[in-house]
């Protein structure tokens, strides 16, 4: 088997790598982040229906955007995997759908601020990542399927219901149950 520099690695400290890139423009850290994330982002884009070349291109451009924006990553606000996911998601909308993604402006005076700002701390954001992964792994299969389809199929839930040959209400309630478990694992207020 040919060993290439892009052979995948199983585990990384993406948070430390992002911080090293943002702070020091550390190319070794970038190569390590690439080795883990480029093949996974490509795989994600393939799931979303991109062909091999397009999936590779979006993964490449997402990694380049991550290099350029790493100084904006705030480990107190989001886990590294969450931030990387959001950059790649937006890159796909930009490159493949060629649409704009409307997003709120956190500095807009018209924005209603959080009533009770959660005590942001870095350990919290890191724990969130592990908690969400564990919560997803423990979902019953039928709930996990709806969660995965929500992210891997660029379809409204009505079409996901058709694919699964289930009533729309069933799909929505499975998603709601799964989402509730994830939010409970995060310690969110779940009424």
């Amino acid at each position: 088997m040919t060993v290439t520099r892009t052979d995948t690695v199983d585990t990384i400290d993406a948070r430390a790598l992002l911080l090293a890139i943002g702070r020091d423009r550390d190319k070794a850290a970038f190569a390590a982040l690439f080795a883990y994330y480029a093949p996974r982002l490509k795989s994600y884009m393939r799931k979303l229906g991109a062909d091999d070349a397009a999936a590779e291109e979006v993964a490449q451009e997402a990694l380049l955007a991550i290099w350029r924006k790493a100084h904006l990553y705030d480990p107190a606000k989001a886990a590294a995997s969450t931030w990387i996911f959001a950059v790649a998601r937006n890159m796909r909308i930009d490159l493949i759908r060629r649409e704009r993604r409307p997003e709120l402006d956190p500095d807009d005076p018209a924005l209603v601020p959080d009533a009770d700002p959660r005590a942001d701390d870095q350990v919290g954001a890191r724990q969130r990542e592990a908690l969400v992964r564990e919560a997803i792994r423990q979902l019953p299969p039928e709930q996990a399927e709806v969660v995965r389809l929500s992210f891997y199929e660029e379809k409204p839930h009505a079409e996901i219901a058709e694919v699964l040959q289930l009533p729309l209400g069933t799909v929505k309630s499975r998603l709601r149950l799964a989402f509730r478990k994830v939010r409970m694992a995060l310690g969110d207020d779940v009424e």
Binding site: S43, P102, E103
Partner: protein
């Protein structure tokens, strides 16, 4: 600030986090998020799910030279950000207070000087430039009723000022009303200030009264 009682469903928030909503629906959700810290927290949780799913993906090998090609580009100067799609008008104070981003940037002018189209004596509307679903601002006189209608697809309405009530409930600033093809409804604007709302539909409304049906081609809705 009133407490928001009507939120977009989890399906919509997760779809926004996943990036699978079109521009019009994304605009509605993102503008609601600006007004609703609770849903911001939900979207953050949904994005964390996306991050966890990607981190757990089975890797698809990249081309052998992919990393070298990218390393060679790291020191390239960053391209200038694209110019905004439309020139940003100078919005007046009321528009800045009532219409949060990202919706504000979709307005070609302040609220009072938008190219409103009259839809009868009580309702004015202006269409917003989005791809996908149709997005419009509505301005309804206090106490006025919208023509009774149902929908071929889904209609989502985000209230920005004033409020309205229909068979489902009462909706005020920040609330999102969601109507599907099974709902025949007749929203009535609350008394007081005019009701300003963003409505996003993925199919034309179907008016059910005789007169509104005749007027439908005229309204173009």
């Amino acid at each position: 600030m009133n407490r928001i009682l009507h939120h977009p469903g989890d399906d919509l928030l997760v779809a926004y986090a996943a990036g699978s909503l079109d521009e019009g629906l994304s605009l509605m959700v993102a503008t609601h998020l600006a007004l609703c810290p609770e849903c911001r927290s939900r979207v953050a949780a949904a994005e964390a799910m996306g991050g966890a799913l990607v981190a757990d993906m089975a890797p698809a090998p990249m081309a052998d030279d992919a990393l070298d090609a990218l390393l060679a580009r790291l020191d390239e100067p960053e391209p200038a950000p694209p110019p905004p799609a439309r020139p940003r008008p100078a919005y007046d104070a009321r528009t800045r207070a009532v219409v949060p981003e990202p919706l504000r940037s979709y307005l070609s002018a302040s609220l009072d000087t938008l190219p409103w189209r009259s839809m009868g004596p009580f309702v004015r509307s202006v269409e917003l430039p989005v791809s996908g679903a149709k997005a419009r601002l509505f301005r309804i006189k206090p106490g006025a009723a919208m023509p009774q209608h149902s929908h071929n697809g889904m209609e989502y309405t985000l209230v920005l000022a004033g409020g309205f009530s229909d068979e489902v409930g009462s909706f005020a600033r920040g609330d999102v009303a969601c109507a599907d093809q099974t709902l025949l409804h007749q929203p009535v604007a609350d008394p007081g200030e005019p009701c300003l709302c963003l409505a996003v539909t993925d199919a034309p409304l179907r008016f059910t009264g005789v007169v509104p049906r005749l007027m439908q081609p005229f309204f173009g809705i």
